[in-house]
């Protein structure tokens, strides 16, 4: 957006900087960026707080002079590592935007195979294709200043965080698990309805988005602080769910990668049990 349109904003009489923000995407579905555009009601207010200087999905002009870079997606190719390094250099604040950027997201599901050649072959046959063996979160390559969790990110949360950044407030994300907000929303617990849920160990802040739809949480926001995954494992068993069900959820978005790895090892489960049957 044209910088000349920027008026000087203040809050309680204090002048506020109007940060120049840029959006970038690595390997992703670009859904998190789209959530910005999906925010029809407050888009104009959003645009009066910041100056968008780079948003390939929505605009042609681009600039490398930005304060805040929102980077969506995981790192899966050498050129992305280079792009990310440049972004890091240009940005004062680098935001890992969404679960892919924070944890690797669904894309890191390929990591479990431990056999990159097989993975490539499954899609591209014998053709050579340039790709890294694993999909990784941003912080494996650069330092990250702020994380916005979620697959997809929640627009209310993005708004709040952006407002806080502009105001110069510190960003405090919920440390409690999803259950907290689920109860606040007066949902019937999915375990009572016979459905599995990762809410007891997943970081809140999504307003129990999935359980509100009677759909158990898959842990897209990664672990809550002090998450008791071991106890959840006991509970899942008590409620008659298989370890595979728990594993599916733990490994879906990468936030629980360590727990998933551990569980997979304990289960002696091969990720590609079907090769033989094929």
């Amino acid at each position: 957006m044209d910088a000349s349109q920027a008026q000087n904003r203040t809050y309680l009489g204090m002048p506020l900087a109007r940060p120049r923000v840029a959006f970038f995407e690595l390997s992703s579905c670009e859904g998190c960026q789209l959530q910005i555009v999906n925010n029809e009601a407050n888009l104009l207010d959003f645009l009066s707080l910041v100056t968008v200087v780079n948003f390939r999905e929505a605009m042609t002009e681009k600039s490398d002079a930005y304060d805040i870079a929102f980077v969506e997606g995981s790192v899966t190719r050498a050129d992305e590592i280079e792009r990310l390094a440049v972004i890091r250099k240009n940005a004062k604040v680098l935001v890992a935007f969404g679960s892919c950027a924070c944890f690797g997201g669904v894309t890191q599901l390929k990591n479990r195979f431990k056999d990159p050649a097989w993975v490539k072959k499954q899609v591209y046959g014998d053709r050579s294709i340039q790709t890294n063996d694993t999909a990784r979160p941003l912080e494996d390559f650069v330092s990250v200043d702020l994380r916005i969790y979620g697959c997809p990110v929640k627009k209310e949360e993005v708004e709040k965080i952006v407002t806080h950044v502009v105001l110069g407030r510190s960003i405090v994300q919920p440390k409690y698990p999803v259950c907290m907000e689920c109860k606040e929303n007066e949902n019937t617990c999915l375990f009572d309805l016979g459905e599995p849920c990762l809410g007891p160990v997943t970081r809140g802040g999504c307003d129990s988005w999935c359980p509100n739809s009677r759909f158990g949480c898959w842990g897209c926001r990664g672990p809550a602080e002090d998450a008791n995954v071991g106890q959840l494992q006991v509970i899942m068993k008590q409620y008659g769910f298989t370890e595979e069900t728990l594993l599916d959820r733990l490994e879906c978005f990468g936030g629980f990668a360590k727990d998933a790895e551990q569980l997979r090892t304990n289960m002696k489960l091969s990720p590609r049990r079907h090769e033989g049957t094929k």
Partner: protein, 424 residues
């Protein structure tokens, strides 16, 4: 002026994903026009191997942020077809309503935010906020309605939470649907205003004959499942999709490409309209005709208009669907799924064209093989051929670089490509 000119567009903007255009013209003659797809592959088809069926819609919906609802529905349909589940009327109607709202949301996003800036000579929608506030407000209003209704039926607008194999996890409240009826009625005029806006745009005059592939309507304009049809007369069953898409690898793209009767074919709004014009709602047909858009139209830029026509169609059809749903008494939202070995295919018309998900299951319902064919990957070859023809035409007309650059980008944009999706 130098005799050899190269136009390089690295990472074309206002499209979803990463693609490059490169055009080389020497002495007024086209040497090469290239459409390159440089998106990073994410390997969804490998990722799903070994996973239980319930993971498929949840994970594969993440192929695309814009049409996650379409992916989810295609994936669910593939699983249901494999397990022999036929959705009841309530589920089918709700899914179609959800699908319609995704179509509306995506088309409006494309028309206003991605395509319109070209016609209004700006780089993005942002300057329009000040110069054309009514236009931006109208776009936001329609999009918001579509997204809100997606939230209401699907749980959320992106990566939906209520859509599952066997139906829905929960149903919308009927009084909410009644409220949406009002809002749908309200935006009819906004759509007519949208038509007026696009009528004021000069749609580039360019045509190249090609083949159009879509679902075949069976009594209704098609969106979910059914036979596959091409404008060259090919008809196939849903499960024979592979014979329709014939995917192959090319060096200039990380996405696969497709062909059928000719070197390339097109899918999308224009293809659907060309193949099923008679099944459009009469009011939508009227809008179409007013733009001179009648089957079979070979101008790829007219895809924008076809999208506009479809917006009118889905809004009117949603009103019908809501009436139908309000007349039903709610049944159980979800039926249990019993996994069994077999192959299932789900074909769904998503905003950018026909999308296929295909899974092979073992008898416990674990995925043995997975294949997803994305609309944009089916379009890539057609984009390449259009681009060559367009560049050739421009070169012979002696057009300036800037003009060629704009026309080439507008051409790619008119397909509303979802490049990251096509690579998945």
């Amino acid at each position: 002026m130098k005799s050899t000119r190269t136009i390089d567009i690295h990472h074309i903007t206002r499209v979803e994903g990463h693609g490059n255009i490169s055009i080389t013209v020497k002495d007024g003659r086209l040497i090469e026009a290239r459409w390159e797809v440089v998106e990073t592959p994410r390997f969804f088809e490998a990722m799903l191997v070994g996973k239980k069926w319930e993971n498929a819609p949840w994970i594969s919906g993440r192929i695309c942020g814009i049409c996650s609802i379409g992916h989810t529905l295609a994936s669910i349909r593939a699983v249901e077809n494999a397990f022999g589940i036929v959705p009841d009327e309530q589920t089918a109607s709700l899914r179609l309503l959800l699908k319609h709202m995704e179509t509306l949301q995506s088309h409006v996003l494309h028309l206003y935010f991605l395509a319109a800036p070209d016609f209004l000579n700006v780089g993005s929608v942002f300057p329009l906020i000040n110069s054309h506030p009514d236009v931006v407000q109208r776009a936001a209003k329609i999009k918001q309605l579509a997204n809100d209704l997606c939230d209401c039926v699907g749980g959320r607008r992106m990566h939906p939470t209520r859509t599952v194999v066997g139906g829905f996890t929960m149903l919308p409240e009927k009084k909410e649907l009644v409220r949406f009826k009002e809002r749908l009625n309200e935006i009819k005029t906004d759509l007519l205003d949208t038509a007026e806006l696009f009528r004021s745009f000069a749609i580039p005059d360019f045509s190249r004959e090609t083949e159009f592939v879509s679902l075949q309507g069976n009594g209704a304009y098609p969106f979910i499942g059914g036979n596959l049809v091409s404008s060259d007369g090919v008809v196939k069953k849903e499960q024979e999709y592979a014979a329709m898409t014939n995917e192959y690898l090319v060096e200039q793209s990380t996405s696969k490409w497709s062909h059928l009767s000719r070197p390339s074919f097109a899918v999308g709004a224009l293809a659907r309209l060309n193949n099923n014009f008679a099944l459009l709602n009469p009011a939508a047909q009227e809008v179409s005709v007013s733009f001179g858009l009648k089957p079979i139209n070979h101008n790829p830029y007219m895809n924008n208009i076809a999208q506009l026509v479809e917006c009118v169609h889905v809004v009117l059809d949603s009103l019908r669907l809501i009436d139908e749903l309000l007349g039903m008494s709610w049944k159980k939202p979800r039926h249990p799924a019993v996994p069994k070995a077999g192959i299932g295919v789900g074909a769904v018309e998503v905003p950018r064209g026909i999308l296929y998900h295909c899974y092979e299951f073992d008898d416990e319902g674990r995925i043995v093989r997975c294949d997803c064919v994305i609309p944009t990957s089916q379009n890539h070859a057609n984009i390449q051929h259009d681009l060559s023809a367009l560049a050739e035409q421009c070169a012979s007309q002696g057009k300036q670089d800037r003009e060629i650059e704009l026309l080439a980008q507008m051409l790619v944009r008119s397909y509303d490509p979802c490049i990251s999706c096509s690579v998945h």
